[in-house]
């Protein structure tokens, strides 16, 4: 026997179906588990966040050093551009981290 047969059936609109599905999920303890799992993993995992911040910083510095070495190699001015672009790259890395963690 079906529980739904005993009560008056509301018109089958998508929202009423969704509401009943949501209610059923909550009663079964499924909805709350889904809600926490759907949070953005980028914000959730502290470990991942730390790794991300580290790679952002290293990435900025690596690009700066690479450009500096390239310009020095091309213009024969070693180590002028290496020094300039290492600082700029470090600043870019800090900027990346700030963009990552800013509120």
């Amino acid at each position: 026997m079906n529980r739904n047969d005993s009560r008056p059936e509301p018109p089958e609109t998508p929202s009423s179906f969704d509401d009943r599905l949501k209610g059923a999920r909550e009663r079964q303890g499924l909805q709350s588990a889904r809600d926490t799992a759907s949070a953005d993993p980028l914000d959730r995992a502290g470990w991942g966040m730390m790794l991300r911040a580290g790679t952002e910083m290293i990435g900025g510095l690596a690009v700066g050093v690479a450009i500096g070495l390239g310009l020095d190699h091309w213009l024969g001015t070693r180590p002028l551009f290496l020094i300039v672009f290492a600082f700029l790259g470090g600043a870019a890395g800090i900027l990346n981290v700030w963009r990552l963690v800013k509120p």
Partner: protein, 259 residues
């Protein structure tokens, strides 16, 4: 060294830990592979592509209204990436959905294939991850230029900053922009290398301890247990890193299509 009571000869492998040897490339397919310099990395890339395509083709072949298990899995994968692309990029995300889908499942398959013993994770090579990241970067730049035109270059000067600081701020912004593919590739590559080195280290501990006799045999269970836990962690990391790569691709493309 003669074999011990269990008939084992653990000698060379037990004295040193060769944690990075697993990342070396070797020719496969015998003579032909050696001539073509065809290593296990591109071979497993082809395997990954074939696996993903076979999963989708075989999964979607029934075209049932009420899907079976495999079809449901294929549909969930499609919807997952489709929602990610459209939610992150916006309505234009539909156009980039095939690209993001390919990227995500290529990396995911590569990460998971690498966890099979005696296999190889091609995502643990920076040549591969940097190649993928540069592909994403070039696509994002091209889309930016197409949708924003020359106004794209105005983004390199932050709004409201004094003009006197422009010579300092513009190079920093450009470097920050250029560092995107680098950090994108280093993240994936470093995660995969770190995971596989840890697996190798604890496996080597087991072999070392097993060479110490009966007490070592008992203690050797410890690293095996840790390796089982690490394998579970690596399954999580493999999926998470593929997801991070795909979502960052979507974020970069969202900035590219924004006016």
């Amino acid at each position: 060294m003669p074999p011990d009571v269990f008939g084992r000869t653990i000698l060379a492998a037990g004295t040193t830990i060769d944690a990075l040897g697993q990342f070396e490339l070797h020719p496969v397919l015998g003579e032909l592979g050696a001539t073509l310099r065809f290593s296990q990395s591109p071979a497993l890339m082809i395997v990954a592509v074939v696996l993903v395509l076979a999963f989708l083709y075989i999964g979607m072949r029934p075209r049932a209204v009420v899907p079976g298990r495999l079809q449901a899995a294929a549909e969930i994968c499609h919807d997952f990436i489709h929602n990610m692309a459209v939610d992150t990029i916006g309505p234009e995300g539909r156009a980039f959905f095939p690209f993001v889908f390919t990227l995500f499942f290529f990396i995911l398959a590569g990460n998971y294939i690498g966890l099979i013993p005696f296999s190889f994770a091609f995502t643990s090579h920076i040549a591969v991850t940097l190649g993928l990241a540069i592909l994403v970067f070039v696509l994002a730049v091209l889309v930016s230029l197409k949708s924003q035109g020359l106004k794209f270059f105005a983004h390199f000067m932050p709004d409201g900053a004094p003009m006197a600081l422009a010579p300092l701020l513009i190079p920093i912004e450009i470097l920050s922009f250029l560092s995107r593919p680098v950090s994108l590739s280093i993240r994936l590559f470093a995660n995969m290398v770190a995971g596989h080195v840890m697996l190798e280290m604890f496996a080597a501990f087991t072999i070392m301890l097993a060479g110490l006799g009966i007490a070592g045999d008992v203690l050797a269970v410890g690293p095996v247990v840790i390796n089982i836990a690490l394998m579970a962690l690596e399954l999580l990391v493999g999926a998470l890193q593929a997801y991070v790569f795909a979502i960052l691709t979507c974020i970069y493309l969202r900035e590219a299509v924004a006016h």
